[in-house]
Symmetry: C2
Subunit: 251 residues, 2 copies
């Protein structure tokens, strides 16, 4: 993003915030953005006026208004609304962590997450991202993705998140072939030690993956294979509902 433009500066400031932050002082914002102090002060102040940032006790926070705008994003909004009842079914069945995700490039973006008091401690977060190859959600999305996405992922570095992460392209490739056949994907501590997972894609009428659903649990207590059918059924339910909606909205 070009910092000589206003929008570039706006995005530079918004990107300075991470999931670990609660609020940032002007001085910290300046350290992170490198914008000149006077400019930063002014643009941040304008962002507060616009509701994209809030300022409390001198610290800046991403604003509630940004949350509201974010929840208007039509893809995510529709998916959450349609998938929630199915995710609740999966949650009630297992009391484990249920995720809904979509593919963005070579990453999975978590769109929704249902968790109870006792579920596995997963490092996932709605709005957060993880590499496709290291997660069941990601692999389910990747398996049904266009060829060029396969090529990109299989030729790029397969980053290792845990000792169990698949980093050999050949092994990943044969897993993807298997996922296409089985209709579900599994993850065995590939993204997070101690966490296993089963996922199924939500496919549209042309069998392209628009999202995926998963259940994740701790390796000591959760058997992903036992839930393959219900995850697949939930994903199919979401797909059918989306299809029905698409029919309703077409003239």
């Amino acid at each position: 993003m070009d910092p000589s433009s206003v929008l570039g500066k706006v995005m530079t400031i918004l990107h300075a915030f991470s999931a670990d932050d609660h609020g940032l002082s002007l001085a910290e914002l300046q350290r992170r953005t490198g914008l000149p102090k006077g400019t930063l002060h002014r643009v941040a102040g304008d962002l507060v006026g616009a509701g994209l940032l809030d300022r409390r006790d001198g610290d800046f926070h991403l604003g509630s208004h940004l949350f509201e705008l974010g929840m208007l994003a039509s893809v995510e909004r529709t998916l959450i609304e349609v998938a929630t009842p199915f995710m609740e079914d999966l949650y009630e069945r297992t009391h484990e962590v249920v995720h809904l995700g979509i593919r963005e490039g070579t990453e999975v973006v978590y769109v929704a997450k249902v968790a109870g008091h006792k579920g596995a401690r997963t490092p996932t977060r709605v709005g957060g991202r993880m590499p496709l190859h290291a997660t069941a959600l990601g692999k389910a999305l990747l398996a049904h993705a266009p060829q060029d996405v396969w090529v990109t992922v299989l030729s790029g570095p397969l980053d290792r998140l845990t000792p169990r992460t698949l980093t050999a392209p050949g092994r990943l490739r044969s897993q993807l072939d298997q996922i296409v056949q089985q209709g579900v994907s599994y993850e065995y501590e590939e993204s997070t030690m101690g966490v296993v997972c089963v996922a199924a894609p939500v496919l549209d009428a042309d069998d392209r993956p628009v999202a995926a659903l998963s259940i994740a649990g701790t390796v000591t207590r959760f058997r992903p294979e036992q839930h393959a059918a219900s995850v697949r059924a939930a994903a199919n339910g979401v797909a059918a509902t989306l299809a029905r909606r698409a029919l309703l909205t077409e003239g």
Copy 2:
């Protein structure tokens, strides 16, 4: 927002999108914003470059990146994370619609919503707003709000959403007093015909309301009074968890 500035134009464009839209053409964006065509084309294009808008088949959509930024908003993020397990408890108990909301001015903003296949059809949406006085969530938040908020709400127009909406300040006021005593608020078709609700505030250490939880169901099948204790318990659980977190983050 001042449309002579870049940020003003950005906000004007972002605000052109509503919950009913799936995508907007450049021509529709121009009709809604009134911005000059060339300027609109350029700024919208820049927003696409920045990830705040997506463009598909010629139509503009609020972008996935906006969703991701929105989910970084620290107040909402923390509340959702902490409240989700408690909301799941309430959902499992009732299979009705469970909401988490916060107060913004004289409105409730829905921060999270849990619904199954069979819950009441409520017109609520995460990120959406409703007047405080017409919803159980809103009344719970209002009852514990600072005096000036009471004054503002009670002196402003109490918009009627249904024939049952409370529009007499005196009646609202005595309800608020009751809510403070009882610890829960009720709604009987005041925001949506056919929908009843019970809500409880999430209070901080100084008894200020930081959020509220509710269960909404259809008037024919849901008895809000029967769930007052569990909603209150869930709200108290959220409050306790938030308090524990606040302790952890303090030096």
